[in-house]
């Protein structure tokens, strides 16, 4: 027998889960309906007709494939660079004694308080002087200058027993050798956490790509999809068009959700690291 208390708890859990996933399900259900079947009352959770026309229209009329490729390239390269430099910096901040270390660490962490939008105007001018606006380099480099990744790596390295390194030191290993051959092979999970967080933040980044990218061919997904929003509200005077925006949203979301479910362990780990050990 379920106790009264448990029934309430299960009900609360059910409500929370439904609130979280019904909007996503409604997006998917609506996207596979023909345009004429989308804006109708009563809403139908099971479509009477299933069609792929919205998806085909997005793929054929827009640069959708290109935007997705751009997103993958930008997020992939940014992640690759980030995990390397963060693992190095995190190791130095945790395990190597050098002059100015504490000052440097405090300075880096303090910068977390500064809203990212503060940086976009100077970045815009910097990249325009370098003639690198509207390139993927302009999207990749600012992402690599992240703070949470360094923080996570440092916290992880602080937890590695010092005896391990000391033994290697006595054997005459250089700091670089200790890092690359002893410390790094132990860091798989935290490197994965940093990789996941970096990839997601680059993948979802909106404000900076909106400013830095002009040409349709260089756009990443978030900015590309934003273009559909006008069609949805019928802003240009034509009738609202719901199908293509919903289909593009589904296509952008399904891969992200698959990756999310596969890697969520690391994702959660990364977030937890920033939370508890502060």
């Amino acid at each position: 027998m379920l106790s009264f208390r448990k029934i309430i708890l299960y009900t609360l859990m059910l409500i929370s889960v439904l609130f979280s996933i019904l909007p996503l399900i409604w997006m998917i259900v609506s996207s596979i309906k023909p345009e004429s079947q989308i804006p109708i009352y009563p809403p139908r959770w099971i479509p009477s007709v299933i069609t792929w026309e919205n998806f085909l229209s997005v793929i054929s009329k827009h640069n959708f494939g290109r935007w997705m490729l751009n997103s993958i390239i930008v997020a992939g390269i940014a992640t690759f660079i980030t995990i390397f430099i963060d693992a190095m910096a995190g190791y130095a901040l945790a395990c190597l004694y050098f002059v100015g270390r504490n000052f440097l660490f405090n300075l880096i962490v303090f910068m977390l308080l500064v809203p990212i939008p503060v940086t976009v105007i100077p970045l815009f001018l910097l990249f325009s002087q370098l003639h690198l606006l509207d390139t993927h380099i302009a999207l990749i480099l600012p992402t690599t200058a992240n703070i949470t990744g360094v923080f996570i790596m440092r916290q992880f390295f602080l937890g590695i027993p010092g005896e391990l390194e000391d033994a290697a030191r006595i054997d005459g290993c250089s700091p670089f050798k200790i890092w690359s051959q002893i410390v790094l092979p132990l860091s798989g999970p935290s490197l994965s956490a940093v990789a996941t967080l970096t990839f997601v933040s680059s993948w979802n980044n909106f404000l900076w790509p909106l400013i830095a990218i002009n040409s349709d061919n260089s756009r990443t997904l978030p900015v590309g999809i934003a273009q559909y929003m006008g069609a949805m509200s019928g802003a240009s005077g034509s009738a609202p068009n719901y199908g293509p925006p919903l289909a593009s949203a589904v296509m952008a979301t399904i891969p992200a959700l698959i990756v999310f479910f596969a890697l969520q362990k690391y994702f959660v780990q990364g977030i937890s690291f920033t939370g508890i050990k502060g």
Partner: protein, 300 residues
């Protein structure tokens, strides 16, 4: 603990090598950090003291941008709207985030793991997709929200086009999108609390509200502090979902600080003025976190 070396000279040389290595390891990160994060943050302050319309050179105007801000009614509206947004959404994000964490951490409930994942899933959705989904849900004529509210004889509500309600709509969307993040942070904190404490409380016959008040909340304090700070920072600089859902409208009802910065800097090309808006945002945020810190310390 560093190893105790055989003689002093080897300490010195190792120390020197280590210091050298330390800076060497920092170098790649530092270059990127200084060029693309720290540098721009400092530069932003200088730009905020100039008048600059993209063409030509910036002219130094001292604090003129800031004094103009105080008289700029759009700035004051955007400041008020940003604070309103924080008040609307931050307490909900924190309290519901904590409640969800406690719920999915309850060992007597089945399916905790999968429910955790599902509640967290919206966080993986990008802002523009969030905009598409919720613009459709909020649709005045054919949105499902108005349809179901119709059964309660409410509406139809023009969620995104009615001045008094648009910010509430954005707040609900933001809650849906990001509450899972706070849940995960709280969950990590909860799992740090030794289970023996709860067992002892149970033996002593403490009720669940007392256990929560006397054990969970005090021990969760460091996590709570981090969650409140992060939530404050993130909600005060809201941009993405507003840009895609309302564009700051209707009227100026959802015009927030960063929205206004974007408008001034990248649509009117008043770069100096935009930089001043961004810095004002930072300074206000700094003051708010400072107040928060004093408040949290006094409570402790």
């Amino acid at each position: 603990m560093p190893v105790i070396p055989a003689n002093l000279s080897s300490t010195k040389s190792w120390r020197k090598a280590e210091s050298f290595a330390g800076w060497g390891f920092m170098l790649p990160y530092l270059i990127l950090f200084i060029l693309f994060r720290f540098g721009p943050i400092i530069e932003g302050l200088f730009f905020s003291l100039t008048r600059w319309n993209l063409i030509g050179r910036p002219t130094f105007v001292r604090f003129q941008n800031y004094t103009s801000l105080l008289k700029d009614s759009f700035f004051l509206i955007s400041l008020r709207n940003s604070l309103y947004f924080v008040v609307l959404v931050a307490p909900a994000l924190i309290i519901i985030g904590l409640a969800l964490a406690i719920l999915v951490n309850n060992p007597s409930l089945k399916g905790r793991r999968i429910n955790r994942t599902l509640i967290f899933a919206p966080y993986a959705v990008m802002s523009t997709v969030v905009g598409v989904i919720w613009n459709w849900i909020y649709d005045k004529n054919f949105g499902i929200l108005n349809y179901y509210l119709g059964f309660l004889r409410i509406g139809p509500i023009a969620w995104l086009t009615e001045e008094s309600i648009a910010m509430v709509a954005v707040a609900i969307t933001t809650l849906w999108w990001t509450v899972g993040y706070n849940m995960i942070l709280f969950l990590a904190g909860l799992q740090e609390i030794p289970t023996e404490l709860y067992e002892a409380a149970l033996v002593d016959g403490a009720g669940s509200w007392n256990t929560f008040k006397k054990i969970t909340l005090p021990l969760l304090r460091p996590t709570t502090y981090i969650v409140i700070t992060l939530t404050l920072i993130n909600t005060f600089q809201v941009f993405d979902q507003i840009y895609v859902m309302t564009g700051g409208g209707p009227g100026t009802s959802t015009l927030t600080l960063i929205q206004y910065m974007y408008f001034q800097a990248f649509q009117n090309y008043n770069l100096g003025y935009g930089a001043a808006i961004a810095y004002a945002t930072f300074i206000i945020l700094l003051a708010l976190t400072g107040i928060l810190q004093i408040f949290m310390k006094r409570e402790a």
